[in-house]
């Protein structure tokens, strides 16, 4: 096998802000190293989910091994991990980084350094990665390479000459970049004679083979027939197969130190190959796992319920399968008075929620209703007992509560200076507390705010994008907890509380929230046989109300010349329409209403 000794291996990833061309650069690398002849009309080759191609984003990490014959005469193995770009997926990024020695820092020459670029650089430095700075899209008329180069120099302290220029779209500069990569990024370090340690940086479930873990072998050798164990669970497995990740899996005799590849441990149980976990040799175990593994921390919680109660088991199975591919997804059974049996799920953010819901609906053919998402609160009762509440239904009676604390974030917004005013106003509306402003250069300001997490989970990112014509970018990290005045706001339909629509909301914002939700529901709930009264209430106090009048006519009037079939088809259509509805007493609510009430106009 060419380059099988560790000094011929380069493990790297590409870090970039969303839309800066990461997946396109990955496509060019696959071509340049000869792994594929031509990407042709299948761009974003590594993004194999339909959803990824449609949205033009990477949701899961993807790994690929490329053989490369360098002009220095050596044969190398280049292992690339393509990582997600959205702020919701920073944990996925962190796992990929932990498996690499270096990273291509890719910056769009027409956009410059953005919030995600900065956040990823900090993350990469945390993992001691060697950065290879590259400007992309230099073919664009709007490219400003000089300004962009200076921003990169300021950010990572390299010399201007070290910043490479490529056009991933056209392929220019890619061969030079590969050569620079082999030079700049160090090979995997080897601790001689140390037993097996391998990091799981991704995993997926194969219907025929069971769980498949994508690993980086840090020390030792991984091969079929050996007994391994996972640190987090202690469970032992007999290795079935190992191999390299080309575009398909390619079986090999072993995975050596420094190598990236896959291992099939023969576990049929979904959920055992935990992303971030360490694999050890059962015959020669090391006591400690590899550093860098963190339990993923969901930020946003919502209930997911099958629209048809009989799909509960299918949803349970689908979540278990998704969980294998998505370490950050958490869920536990939940029962709702209005929606029946479902699951309380934890997500990294609202995009993550949307993606999970969409994948469940598409890939598992489920019809789902999602409740209003919320953050987790820390509630201390009068006896001093502390509880974390991620479900409005579990909030203790107000009289028993001593204090409620909410998660606080440190947010950084990178924006052209002309939008600073508008963004400050938005941040203030969202209870943001201003910290500082720095200027990266004349075109780019960084605003630092302290904000409650709950204020950014709905539409903050969308608002920020639209008010800055897409230029502003945003990133955040959790810093702690602060007391907050919070109330539980209920929504009632014809006098019945729809528990799935209850929210925990800051007291000062309750009235506006109630008014908005009530109005939105009045818009979304179609007229039906009965009048529908929509109310928002805090405890038993009604704070907003709207009415959907009963309609008086819904009949396909005439049987045109005996065409009964046509009439029946119209009825069928109506029946289909009702399937997208959820009944609450005698009120029918379109499923979309649950998500739509979150979005402001």
């Amino acid at each position: 096998m060419p380059g099988s000794s560790p000094d011929r291996i380069r493990n790297f990833c590409i870090i970039a802000h969303i839309d800066h061309g990461k997946s396109t650069l990955a496509d060019r690398l696959l071509e340049h190293t000869g792994l594929v002849d031509s990407i042709g009309n299948r761009p974003q080759l590594l993004d194999d989910m339909d959803l990824e191609r449609e949205r033009g984003i990477t949701i899961k990490s993807h790994a690929v091994s490329m053989n490369y014959h360098c002009s220095d005469g050596g044969d190398y193995i280049l292992n690339l991990i393509d990582t997600p770009g959205h702020v919701d997926f920073s944990y996925e990024v962190s796992r990929s980084l932990a498996a690499c020695e270096g990273a291509i820092l890719l910056v769009d020459a027409s956009q410059g350094v953005e919030a995600q670029t900065i956040a990823n650089v900090y993350l990469a430095l945390e993992y001691d990665l060697t950065l290879l700075p590259v400007m992309n899209k230099i073919d664009l008329v709007s490219a400003q390479p000089d300004i962009c180069r200076q921003q990169i120099v300021d950010l990572i302290g390299c010399s201007p000459e070290e910043v490479l220029s490529v056009s991933a779209k056209e392929g220019t500069g890619v061969p030079e970049m590969v050569a620079a990569l082999i030079n700049a990024i160090p090979p995997p370090s080897v601790v001689k004679d140390q037993p097996l340690q391998a990091l799981i940086f991704d995993s997926l479930f194969d219907n025929y083979r069971g769980a498949i873990a994508y690993v980086r072998v840090v020390s030792g050798i991984l091969k079929p027939g050996m007994t391994i164990f996972f640190h987090s669970t202690g469970i032992r497995y007999l290795v079935d197969e190992v191999g390299l990740l080309r575009l398909e899996r390619v079986k090999t005799d072993q995975l050596g130190t420094g190598q990236m590849g896959y291992v099939i441990p023969g576990c049929k149980e979904v959920g055992e190959t935990r992303v971030g976990d360490t694999i050890g040799d059962d015959a020669d175990p090391l006591p400690d796992p590899l550093p860098g593994y963190r339990e993923p921390k969901p930020m946003v919680f919502a209930g997911l319920f099958p629209a048809n109660a009989e799909d509960y088991e299918s949803l349970k199975d689908a979540l278990a399968r998704l969980k294998l591919n998505d370490a950050s997804l958490q869920y536990e059974p939940e029962t709702s008075g209005s929606l029946g049996f479902g699951f309380r799920c934890g997500f990294l953010g609202l995009l993550h929620l949307e993606i999970v819901q969409e994948r469940l609906e598409r890939e598992y053919d489920l019809n789902l209703v999602s409740t209003v998402p919320n953050v987790k609160y820390r509630v201390t009762d009068n006896h001093g007992e502390v509880r974390f509440i991620d479900n409005p239904a579990h909030l203790p009676p107000v009289s028993n509560i001593k204090v409620v604390e909410e998660p606080i974030i440190k947010a950084q917004v990178v924006t052209p200076p002309e939008y600073v005013g508008a963004i400050m106003q938005l941040a203030t509306e969202r209870r943001g507390i201003y910290d500082t402003t720095e200027y990266l250069d004349a075109r780019r300001a960084v605003l630092h705010y302290k904000m409650p997490l709950s204020e950014i989970i709905y539409d903050f990112y969308d608002k920020l994008k639209s008010m800055s014509r897409g230029y502003a970018s945003f990133d955040y990290e959790l810093t702690g907890w602060e007391p907050t005045l919070m109330v539980k706001l209920d929504i009632l339909l014809n006098g019945e509380i729809v528990d799935a629509m209850s929210v925990l909301v800051n007291e000062d914002k309750a009235y506006a929230w109630g008014r908005r939700v009530v109005d939105k529901l009045a818009e979304l709930i179609p007229r039906q046989m009965f009048e529908v009264a929509i109310q928002a209430a805090i405890s038993s106090r009604i704070i907003a109300r709207a009415t959907v009048r009963a309609y008086r006519k819904n009949v396909t009037a005439k049987c045109y010349g005996g065409d009964v079939t046509r009439k029946r088809k119209l009825l069928e259509k109506q029946k289909e329409g009702k399937k997208r509805m959820k009944s609450f007493g005698n009120v029918e609510v379109p499923q979309e209403a649950f998500m739509a009430i979150l979005k402001s106009d």
Binding site: R552, K553, N554, V555, G561, L570, L571, E572, Q574
Partner: protein, 379 residues
């Protein structure tokens, strides 16, 4: 099967109404002549086929289109041929549809002589500006004239079609149309609320008229007025859209609502043989060509299961004032929804019969969907 109703479709009009959902085209005499021949051919082919062969006719309906544009001698020939093909009892209901702007006393007399004993006049409205707005070619004067001419020709069983629920029409103007219609001493009234749906949407109303888009609330108000006026006038509201003086309920319409077999002839015509539904191809040229090759012009046969037939009977039966016999349909009805709807006045159960009260008929689709909610499919 012995008894069935017979329907002929004549798809030609003097102009095309934008809201019309029937297969129809503007009259081209040479195409119409060819069609009349192929229509006869279909009659002859079908009369030799099971299950229609040697059957007995319950009623005949010639619809369209504007069948009153048919030459009288052709109508005569058609009815004579039916006598040859099937058992044709002497006193059955034989209806022709007429457009007030496309009918004259002479052909009405000839129709009557041929055996037509009922006429359905597509009046739509008796208010001038509404007729213009609906781009009808006739005036209210024409309607009066057509009714008088029919009666003079010996056709006493006269039905009018009226439309409601379109923009520009108020409750008052619809009431006015109704009163004028009643003054004409009609025996039967069919009403329908204008609903633009399916392929009708592709046609747009004429530029110079305000667009009559349906308003469901207006239609509901007009429907309430319709029910009370017709009740006062002594009419029986025997089906959602139909009113008749005692003894003048349309026999032909009942075949549809009671799932009695009917044979439909002509382009896009629908048939029901008691088990399955079928319909003819909807394109006139193709229909002609098919028959000229001695082939049947059927496009689709829809095989219905027993449960399908019964669920159809539920939503057709609930359209009528007779309702449904509870015991026959108990197994497909959702008992919880039934109880709830009886409680809230959407249904009445008495003497083992389920009925939709007149004032709730306009919500029939919802009622049926709820009632049949335990069925996987409506039919």
């Amino acid at each position: 099967m012995n008894e069935f109703a017979l329907y002929f479709h004549y798809p030609f009009c003097l102009n095309r109404c934008y809201y019309c959902n029937f297969t129809s085209s503007v009259l081209d005499e040479s195409v119409a002549e060819r069609y009349r021949q192929t229509l006869i051919k279909e009659l002859l082919l079908r009369s030799d086929e099971p299950p229609w062969k040697d059957g007995t006719i319950r009623s005949i309906y010639i619809g369209g289109g504007t069948p009153s544009l048919m030459p009288a001698e052709y109508v005569n020939k058609l009815l004579l041929l039916i006598r040859d093909c099937f058992n044709y009892p002497p006193d059955i209901e034989v209806t022709i549809e007429a457009n007030p702007g496309a009918i004259d006393a002479e052909s009405l007399s000839a129709f009557h002589e041929a055996g037509i004993n009922r006429i359905s006049i597509g009046a739509q409205s008796l208010i001038e500006n509404e007729l213009r707005q609906l781009s009808r070619i006739h005036t209210s004067k024409d309607i009066h004239a057509a009714v008088l001419a029919a009666r003079q020709a010996g056709i006493y069983n006269i039905s009018l079609d009226l439309m409601y629920g379109f923009t520009g029409q108020s409750v008052n103007s619809f009431t006015e149309s109704l009163n004028r219609a009643l003054e004409l001493d009609i025996k039967h009234l069919s009403t329908y609320a204008l609903s633009i749906e399916g392929s009708t949407e592709k046609l747009s109303p004429p530029q110079n008229s305000s667009q009559p888009t349906p308003d469901p609330d207006l239609a509901a108000d007009q429907y309430d007025a319709l029910c009370s006026i017709m009740k006062k006038a002594g009419f029986d509201h025997y089906e959602l859209t139909n009113f008749a003086l005692s003894g003048f309920q349309s026999h032909h319409n009942w075949t549809y609502w009671r799932s009695i077999p009917y044979l439909g002839l002509g382009v896009s015509a629908h048939s029901f043989d008691g088990k399955n539904r079928s319909w003819n191809i909807p394109i006139i040229d193709e229909y002609n060509e098919r028959l000229e090759r001695d082939a049947l012009p059927q496009e689709t046969v829809e095989i219905l299961s027993m449960e399908n037939v019964q669920t159809e009977q539920v939503y057709l039966g609930l359209r009528t004032s007779d309702g449904l016999t509870m015991t026959e349909f108990e197994h497909i009805i959702n008992p919880r929804e039934l109880a709830e709807m009886v409680d809230s006045g959407f249904l009445i159960v008495s003497d083992g019969t389920i009925l939709v009260p007149e004032e709730r008929w306009l919500l029939l689709d919802d009622i049926v969907l709820k009632l049949l909610s335990k069925c996987d499919k409506i039919a």
